[in-house]
Symmetry: C2
Subunit: 435 residues, 2 copies
């Protein structure tokens, strides 16, 4: 028995760090194989990150985009889940150290995902909000609602405006989707919820450093998304970089400033590094681990990395695949098949990424979709976006509850999960940390 | 304008403290009347308390039993909601003091509800868990799941058993329902989620001080409920009073002891008192405010109390009505009609409670129902219980989501909200406080 109470087995032991899209896809491929699998995660659930912004804006309950990892593994023989935070990898002893003890591996798969990248700006990390985990999204939900409650109470117009002013930094899909959702709240819910507050003064600002939003998508998608946002009343700022935030004022590299109680940082992610596997020679841009076409981390035959933490440099993707769900899922599946091959002494197959396209939603009836051979925007794109997200959600119940919420929200122009369950301002701020 | 930014109006101002069953029922009755209503609550949502135990046991998401108070009040003219904690009532100046300022009233309705009563036992208040609010229920959900994760890691059999041993103190509906739900988790979910843990050793103990559980219900309901619980494997202990708990060992007034990591206290509630209206002459048993048949607090014409905080002594209920949803709802409605009469100079009508019966559920297909003229138990009672709870839930979306969860849980023998979203052991314990 190891310190984690995992029995020795005659099968080789594969440790997977992380139960995100990559880790779960890999686990499924290994479910019936002659291996012992130990899956470690610091949460007991898988998070469907693409819908976190709907949790923050009261459109979905957090429980419907989370799925118990133990339930995924039900009925898999030789699978062990442990709720653990990994603190170190010892590549010499081939062991992983965690807060609940250490454990040795035959093969190690790092699928630890990414966290918000503040690019070293401590002020923004401390005073701004991040939205990469469910607790962070719930904190943001509480803060948004608390701001409006507080705006009611002040006679200082400048303070009231700052409380109703939202600055979202980063024009990627997360920033765009969040801005659109806030704009819909401003229009559809605030005037009814706060009849004694002039909610028309609420401002939603989306700030993008480069010359277009959704820079990873097509030009037409960027243009349409911007037009959709402007139609919803979002102020889109391009070619502006946010420099600092003291909890009240946002300064930029231009003369533009924003006075706001809420800065939401969606401007970047970086791979989660684990001590022992974070040498400078291993890490690429964004702290990703350099892997070969079989997901082997450079210099190790028995250590693999998939998803956001892995950087596989190919001709089509010289800086690695996008840090999104699709590459992680495909990589998890590919690695699962390759591990079986490896154990059977067969040659592994190099990973080939099939780009299925990308998409972002802005609001009701408004989305942009880039498929490999066709690009479209508008109502149909919006339905495609919803269908794809429902399809990739794990669990029948989650799909059903999300679907019902979406139908309800669509028909009623409403978002009923606008609840301050844990007040944010009373909590310590977790924004910078992965919590 | 008051300090809370509520405008002066030519209508009399009614302040309602508390958005529970009583406060909301009252607000609805006043919606179109010539009054200004200010509703104060320390949460921005109404909590459907009868289903909290399902949140604790992963059967329902918290968001589906909470409802935004502002949404209830949408479209009511002259209604103002403020998220505020009341600290004092000044009956001389006719004002209410809160954390966001003070405000004067013409009429005051105290509907602040109840909180857990530990009967002065500080040790249990500190180390035990309460389940009267959504945050408390989520803490309990986290703790239950964390216990099993921890049980996996220890080789000390005694410690492992203590982690899988649950002691529920109090055999009222909450204790019975929680015990039944835990027993179903033990049977249906634990063996699949924790194949590497001998979950048959998990124990669920329900400890009741008197000689039967559900003492407020009929003898036959008590007997049947006990038989149902025993069928599910719950240990029912009667005529035992829990005396102390140090976080590890529960001692009682007999030789029986329990070694457990989890004591859940459902053995009593007490009215929430507000300084300024808490004189000894006003308070009855359980800190309730003595009111006349018109809900007027003794000695005040313009201060009313309804629901758990009010004690109206009648022939049928010499110690006041039960501290449950039904009396609160009926009292809220009655007071609403009486306030209108009072303002119109008409005589008020004394409150008459219509006892619609009471019920408790033990598990799937198992419930007990006492109606005024008929009592029944079993499958039909279970359907009645579900129907009644769906009916009294506020909001169409909540009803639909709860219904779907119930159907899913029933068909699949599952409870998917077994998520540790905010780990409990890392938090400060809130058990004793209303949070």
């Amino acid at each position: 028995m190891s310190a984690m109470n995992i029995p020795q087995s005659s099968f080789p032991r594969i440790i997977i760090i992380g139960g995100g899209f990559g880790g779960i896809a890999l686990a499924k491929k290994l479910s019936k194989k002659e291996v012992q699998v130990v899956l470690l995660d610091r949460h007991n659930y898988h998070t469907f990150q693409p819908l976190l912004y709907q949790v923050s804006t009261g459109g979905l309950e957090p429980d419907s985009i989370a799925y118990p990892i133990r339930k995924v593994l039900q009925g898999y023989p030789n699978f062990y889940f442990r709720l653990a935070e990994v603190s170190k990898i010892d590549t010499e002893r081939k062991s992983v150290e965690t807060n609940i003890g250490s454990i040795e591996y035959d093969y190690l798969v790092v699928a630890a995902g990414s966290r918000t990248n503040f690019f070293g700006n401590k002020a923004i990390e401390k005073k701004g909000m991040a939205m990469k985990t469910i607790p962070q999204s719930l904190n943001l939900r509480s803060l948004i609602l608390e701001n409006f409650e507080q705006a009611l109470l002040t006679d200082d117009l400048h303070e009231r405006d700052a409380l109703m002013n939202f600055v979202i930094v980063g024009g990627g899909p997360t920033g765009v989707e969040l801005a659109g959702a806030l704009a819909e709240i401003k229009r559809g819910i605030l005037p009814k919820d706060y009849p004694d507050l002039d909610t028309r003064r609420a401002q939603i600002n989306l700030v993008q450093g480069s010359d277009r939003i959704l820079p990873a998508m097509s030009e037409i998608a960027s243009q349409k998304a911007e037009r959709f946002l402007e139609g919803l009343g979002v102020n889109v700022w391009k070619n502006i970089r946010v420099m600092d935030y003291d909890g009240k004022r946002v300064t930029t590299d231009t003369k533009t400033i924003f006075d706001t109680a809420t800065l939401i940082w969606t401007a970047g992610v970086q791979a989660v590094n684990i001590p022992g596997l974070d040498g400078k020679e291993l890490l690429c841009r964004g702290n990703r681990l350099k892997v070969n076409r079989f997901h082997q981390v450079e210099g190790f035959d028995e250590i693999f990395a998939i998803g956001d933490v892995a950087q596989m440099e190919t001709e089509a993707f010289p800086h690695g695949h996008p840090m999104m769900a699709q590459p992680a899922i495909q990589q998890g599946r590919s690695l699962g098949e390759n591990l079986v091959k490896l154990l059977e002494g067969k040659p592994m197959k190099p990973f080939v990424y099939r780009d299925k396209g990308s998409m972002a939603t802005v609001g009701r009836n408004k989305a942009v979709v880039d498929l490999p051979h066709v690009k479209f925007q508008g109502v149909f794109a919006w339905f495609v976006w919803m269908f794809v997200h429902l399809y990739f959600l794990i669990g029948f119940r989650n799909r059903l509850v999300v679907f019902i919420n979406w139908v309800y929200n669509y028909v009623r122009f409403d978002r009923e999960a606008r609840l301050i369950i844990r007040p944010f301002k009373k909590q310590y701020r977790v924004s910078g940390r992965r919590s």
